[in-house]
Symmetry: C2
Subunit: 413 residues, 2 copies
């Protein structure tokens, strides 16, 4: 069971989680509980570091600082479970045997040696483990970066060969689309790892992509469910059953998109490579790339980057102007990327065509298109996002009669 | 160098400590810095645990919780030193190799294996270590209880064979008496371990007795000095030089005193043993004990306990009434214990007599008396405390012309 920061945001919520854990234990399960830092703890600690150090603080010391957040949560949760009559013991990342690369702030888990966890489980205890943190082989405390607690939970589940890894969050599960846009979005009972990865990457921030990748690699049975009610949630697994006649599982969107166009690029081998190598050297991720046909020995290239990278990307393009040889470079914001995702797409021709049709029928122009085996993405004007998502949701038969439960913002640590 | 909680109470103070440490390092010293949790952190964490658990929380989980306080301090101080251009690295108790008994909440240090500390020192780094905490051989996080950070500092100094262990606090050093009572109290340049123990136990809360005992045992050179100025402080060592003609080093007092009297105890062998065994079984510490002469086969016994134990002590006495056989038991508060302390007393007859003389000349009655080789204590009416301390201070030639620096309350963790 993994509970994020808002699920353990204050003393009352911690008590509620403790009760929930205990109820589950009394069903006869052996349980490991992974928790994040309480609510705003991490932000508060970052603020504190900024008061002490003006420039960027040592990543090692930042990990030393931030890892205290989860340590507070595990201690409190273990206390709470014990006070309700359960047997519980808390372990920090290093105590739980979670080993990572020596890469402070975004370490990857390299190994899990959970003998203390196993020993406590044998003794009938509920084991509470700090998410988001680990230790290097040299005994240095590390943190795993964004989505770290999800990854801790999945990795521990894999190492312990757990029957199930439940990710408790503030939504009922994974929805066919954002319930804030489509009131009658459908809660999915099942979804495949690959589909979940596409949805997670596209902004449906319920489960961190790294955790999903890990789960896929070790074939961990995942469930995403609400920490505020006992509804079933969404199962994430290798092969998910598709409901009859439905080719699209869900509709995602990503507002963090800027389009950069380089117009009139002199067409000769290696020109595109120069552009994208220069961007990669600055660690700017490029998503969709579209190149026009060549006219008069020149071509237009467009690509998307995240909003925060747009300005830096333009500086890079400006710097290589003479080298690449182009007429003009422009950057465009106010866009959004809408995607349909579904493993059933491969065997359903015409799914993409239907998407273009629906969008066009709303009078919305499609700026860019990108496709993979299980998704089609279109970049459109952000102002028309809601209309497009709603129309697509209906067009792919995803509407349901039930009204979706909409909680607060999803937890991302 | 050890800095207590109020010395690292906020971001600015941490920066000031960092500068201080760096200045010291630039004098050519190799430094280990032990720090406590920031200001009220420990109390805040205790509050948090009370919100989660009504009854007494698990001691193991309390240690898990409280040890985060120092971990925050060490990370911030190491960052601060680095941002000022120093090389620094922080270590938690377990990382610094501080091993303790498996006695949560008040563990004693059993061993120190400081290879990581030594390695970092070799590399020219300033090592920042979390006070108050350690690890059992089984890998459990423990805390050392009251005065724990002082003990960490002294124990590390012993293990590293340090030239000096500096305890930075919010007073200039150890004074001949409480400067809040006697404005011209004398800052002592030197004091022996034994004298310091008597002063510490008697309420001059600058340095924890356990740390002094540890220093005495391993012959660690201690200095108590201010974290707010660069004055010399007080050296604590085996043999301290006495200034010419002065037999008394200092005057201490303890307001945490209640007197319990058992009147008309039937005089027969083993009666006293019954009383004090019963109290010991309830973990009630008894300090001064006075027995009157026997009249008509009955005697009066009086003893002191701490104020918080007085009520429980009376219950114990009541319970053994029939067994012991006494006429009446009374408890008295509003008392204070005043003590003169000095290694020179042994060779100066008449020091105790002078004390009684001074107190009597003020018209104050002496309730109880207790003596050891290096101290004489009198229990008197608390209302006359200041008069008595001032008169004794003058009588033993301790007054000085300089006005004492008086900071906030001393730090005790």
């Amino acid at each position: 069971m993994k509970f994020g920061g808002s699920s353990v945001g204050d003393a009352d919520r911690i008590k509620r989680v403790a009760q929930r854990v205990l109820d589950r234990a009394r069903e006869g399960h052996r349980l490991v509980v992974v928790v994040s830092a309480m609510g705003d703890t991490t932000d508060d600690l970052i603020d504190l570091s900024r008061q002490v150090v003006e420039s960027s603080p040592s990543a090692r010391e930042m990990d030393m600082l931030l890892s205290t957040g989860e340590q507070v949560s595990i201690a409190l949760l273990a206390m709470a479970i014990r006070s309700l009559g359960g047997e519980a013991v808390s372990y920090t990342g290093w105590q739980a045997g979670i080993f990572t690369e020596p890469n402070h702030g975004k370490a990857r888990i390299t190994d899990i040696r959970p003998h203390r966890v196993l020993e406590s489980l044998e003794q009938g205890k509920i084991v509470v483990v700090a998410g988001f943190q680990g230790m290097t082989e040299a005994g240095e405390i590390t943190t795993l970066g964004r989505g770290g607690s999800d990854t801790t939970a999945v990795a521990l589940a894999a190492a312990l060969e757990a029957d199930l890894c439940e990710i408790y969050t503030d939504v009922d599960g994974v929805y066919s689309t954002d319930p804030r846009i489509v009131k009658n979005a459908r809660k999915l009972n099942e979804i495949s790892y690959d589909e979940m990865l596409e949805l997670a990457n596209l902004g449906a921030a319920v489960l961190h992509p790294r955790a999903v990748e890990y789960a896929k690699h070790y074939n961990v049975n995942l469930v995403v469910r609400s920490s505020f009610n006992t509804r079933e949630g969404t199962r994430v697994k290798e092969e998910a059953v598709m409901e009859q006649g439905i080719a699209v599982r869900g509709i995602a969107y990503d507002k963090n998109v800027a389009r950069i166009s380089i117009l009139g690029v002199v067409e000769k081998p290696g020109q595109l490579a120069k552009v994208f190598s220069a961007l990669a050297a600055e660690r700017i991720d490029v998503d969709i790339i579209v190149q026009s046909g060549v006219t008069d020995g020149r071509a237009d290239v467009s690509f998307t980057v995240s909003l925060s990278d747009a300005e830096r990307a333009m500086q890079v393009i400006e710097r290589i102007r003479d080298d690449v040889g182009y007429r003009e470079a422009t950057s465009q914001t106010g866009l959004v990327k809408v995607s349909i995702v579904g493993a059933g797409m491969v065997s359903n021709p015409g799914v993409a065509a239907r998407m273009f049709e629906v969008i066009s029928s709303l009078g919305v122009s499609i700026n860019m298109v990108s496709t993979s085996e299980i998704k089609v993405s279109c970049v459109i004007d952000a102002e028309r996002l809601n209309d497009v998502v709603r129309a697509l949701h209906t067009a792919y038969d995803l509407d349901t009669d039930e009204q979706a439960f909409v909680g607060g913002p999803a937890e991302r640590r």
